[in-house]
């Protein structure tokens, strides 16, 4: 696969916004009326309208998970949020047709240029709907479907309906219920049997409006023996008020298929980022989440893999960087549901200033299974004395012939290391950057090259501010 991508994750680059006239606006607050408005605008079929209303009931009846999660969740005021904003529901196939006020945002973020250079397909979502969605002809000719969720459910109902909401049920958690009620945008991808998509498919999620909630819904189905790499990038301008991003991503890897899902999240520091991501891996299939969380005020995200078929494989590689005032609450879920399934979790977090990083892991291996293996490594690096990290691993391994390994470490960059580097003429801030980059180096190698270059640059920027 071509692994070049030039996605800029310097937070200052995404911190701008243009005034846009929205054609459709569901107003502020959430009720059945909001749902009806969204359904009418999107011309949803009846089953989706029912699905949404059922989800709204579930959302309203479920408590906030503050018995285990951060009390900061209480600061989300659902009545103040705008749930749907768009200029139309059908994405354009050519950048020339994208309204000027939306297009200039994506041009500034460099998306059309990247598409020309190395992507097999791009979807660019602006607030609630994709403004642009296109796939290279050669890829489309192989039968690959890459469209928005609305188009997916309208034009490919036979595939969509079979899997939608099956990996992550509506009532999985309060925020998956919220997403199910008001979802809009996100990608629907189907890869036919045996098709190996050479270049990555990319989605770019952009929040432009204030007091807004973005609820994209992504469903990727890789049919038998197929392979696909999907990448998503996210930015938003920095507003005084909080913004909510609550996505649901479902992956299905059928027999022998491989899905690699890469996220670089660089939301601005006012965004609550509460995302549910899970994949089902059938026999000998492989699902790999590569997850990088840099921005947001609070991120709660635990990508999971249910290994349903024999010899299925799940992997989560994650890097989290929690700066001052940020809480990255991330981790992984590995559910072993068949023999000889293997999973691997490698998580590295960096806490800077008063930043807080939390690792939550869930590994389950059932009693009747044999030959299952899990490896979990989570390492935390604390930069300042008031930085914080917590680790909550939950590992349940039953049955006799299964193996599980868990390693965790917390380290600080020692004063001796900094002194040593300074003696060579390297400034304190540059020494800190080197050490932090060194800490994540082995994981960064797994990111596409352009991501890793940007990641390093961003760490440098963060470190400059943290050395007093």
């Amino acid at each position: 696969m071509d692994t070049k991508l030039n996605l800029n994750i310097d937070r200052s680059v995404g911190d701008f916004h243009y005034d846009v006239d929205y054609e459709f606006d569901a107003g502020t607050g959430l009720s059945e009326k909001t749902i009806d408005y969204i359904c009418d605008v999107k011309k949803d079929p009846d089953w989706i309208r029912e699905f949404r209303k059922d989800a709204l009931r579930k959302f309203n009846s479920m408590p906030m998970p503050t018995h285990w999660a951060s009390p900061d969740l209480e600061n989300i005021v659902f009545e103040n949020i705008r749930y749907y904003l768009s200029q139309g529901t059908m994405p354009k196939r050519s950048w020339d047709d994208v309204p000027e006020d939306v297009k200039r945002t994506f041009e500034r973020l460099g998306i059309p240029e990247q598409e020309r250079k190395f992507l097999a397909g791009v979807e660019a979502q602006f607030d609630s709907e994709a403004a642009y969605s296109n796939i290279k002809a050669a890829v489309g000719d192989q039968g690959v479907i890459f469209v928005g969720s609305t188009e997916g459910l309208q034009k490919h109902p036979e595939i969509f309906k079979k899997w939608f909401g099956k990996v992550i049920p509506t009532g999985d958690n309060k925020f998956s219920a919220l997403n199910s009620a008001v979802f809009s945008g996100g990608s629907f991808i189907y890869i036919p049997p045996g098709v190996k998509v050479k270049h990555p498919l990319q989605a770019y999620f952009r929040i432009n409006a204030e007091n807004f909630g973005q609820f994209e819904r992504t469903l990727i189905i890789a049919d038998e023996g197929s392979e696909v790499m999907y990448m998503e990038g996210c930015t938003a301008p920095k507003f005084e008020t909080s913004t909510l991003h609550s996505a649901v991503v479902e992956l299905v890897a059928l027999k022998g298929a491989k899905i690699q899902y890469i996220t670089v999240q660089n939301w601005s520091a006012n965004v609550f980022n509460l995302v549910t991501k899970r994949g089902i891996a059938h026999e000998e299939a492989e699902i790999k989440w590569i997850d990088c969380n840099i921005g947001s005020r609070l991120t709660m995200k635990y990508p999971g893999v249910v290994m349903k078929g024999r010899k299925a494989r799940g992997e989560v590689i994650s890097i989290a960087l929690a700066g001052d005032g940020q809480h990255q609450d991330t981790g992984a879920k590995m559910i072993h549901a068949a023999d000889e399934t293997t999973s691997n979790i490698v998580s590295k977090s960096i806490s800077i200033g008063k930043g807080r990083s939390t690792y939550r892991g869930l590994v389950q291996v059932g009693r009747h299974l044999k030959g299952c293996k899990n490896n979990t490594e989570c390492d935390a690096l604390l930069i300042n004395t008031d930085s914080r990290t917590d680790t909550y691993p939950a590992i349940t391994v039953r049955g006799k012939e299964n193996a599980c390994q868990h390693e965790a470490s917390v380290s600080k960059i020692s004063a001796e290391q900094i002194f040593y580097m300074q003696q060579r003429g390297i400034s304190k801030a540059a020494a800190m950057s080197l050490a932090v980059n060194g800490f994540v180096n082995d994981l960064v190698q797994q990111f596409p090259m352009e991501y890793s270059v940007e990641l390093k640059r961003l760490i440098d920027l963060e470190m400059e501010g943290s050395v007093g």
Binding site: M421, R424, G425, L434, A435
Partner: protein
């Protein structure tokens, strides 16, 4: 032009380690400091480099007339021309030798100027070859999992790449077998020049067979108590440090 240390007093916590140390290394010369464990040899190296655990109480260290203590951060002193090869070099996980030295070389360039990568690697490989360091080491993390000898060779490699005006080698011979000692010494000798001064700190005379000093100083309890030519090192080896202490007592 010299590295000049005048009446240097320095503490770690409440404990005074350097108690009025005087020493001058003229440019172009190699001076050795010998002394027992605990006499303050390594402290001297760290105090000059600006280690945060040590506190300078009084005295002056100048590099060609430039007051070292006017430079607060260790990196400023390094860029002013002072290099210390440490007895126990730190491990920096995940940071490769090539990137580490590159950052140090880059730090010496004027702002806005980028290091030429091709020239840098040519220079690095040349110096690695001379020190018989396998080129594969460029992608190894700094000192991580290195043997004692590899660490010391890597210190000398850094010195060779950074071209200091004054270099302090702290117990560079410790942990070296005879072949490594020879290679490291050759590396140091190759850098001897009228434009550079060396201060070689060692416990044993053995190193001074390979790096022939112009002057040998003996350090006892935080002071230089005796200085002489290279024959002083032989005398110390034969008669031990007790002899120095007796001699000093006599003259006191």
């Amino acid at each position: 032009m010299s590295l000049k240390i005048e009446n240097l007093h320095a503490n770690i916590g409440d404990r005074e380690i350097l108690k009025g140390l005087n020493l001058e290394v003229p440019k172009g010369q190699v001076h050795a400091i010998m002394g027992k464990n605990g006499s303050g040899k390594s402290t001297l190296a760290k105090v000059m480099a600006g280690h945060p655990d040590y506190e300078v109480k009084s005295g002056l260290v100048t590099l060609d007339g430039l007051n070292l203590f006017d430079m607060e951060e260790p990196d400023e002193r390094s860029r002013a021309g002072l290099f210390v090869a440490f007895q126990y070099p730190m491990e920096i996980p995940g940071v490769t030798i090539a990137n580490f030295i590159r950052a140090a070389v880059q730090a010496r360039l004027p702002e806005g100027e980028e290091l030429d990568a091709v020239e840098y690697y040519e220079e690095l490989y040349k110096k690695m070859d001379a020190l018989k360091i396998d080129r594969k080491f460029t992608s190894r993390a700094v000192n991580e999992g290195f043997s004692g000898g590899e660490k010391k060779r890597c210190e000398v490699l850094q010195m060779a790449m950074l071209n200091p005006v004054y270099a302090v080698l702290d117990e560079t011979d410790s942990g070296l077998d005879i072949d490594a000692l020879r290679i490291v010494s050759e590396g140091v000798n190759a850098m001897r020049s009228p434009e550079r001064g060396f201060l070689v700190i060692t416990h044993y005379q053995r190193l001074l067979e390979y790096i022939i000093p112009d002057v040998v100083h003996v350090m006892v309890d935080g002071r230089i108590v005796m200085s002489g030519d290279k024959t002083l090192a032989h005398k110390l080896e034969a008669q031990g440090y007790d002899w120095v202490e007796k001699e000093t007592l006599k003259s006191a």
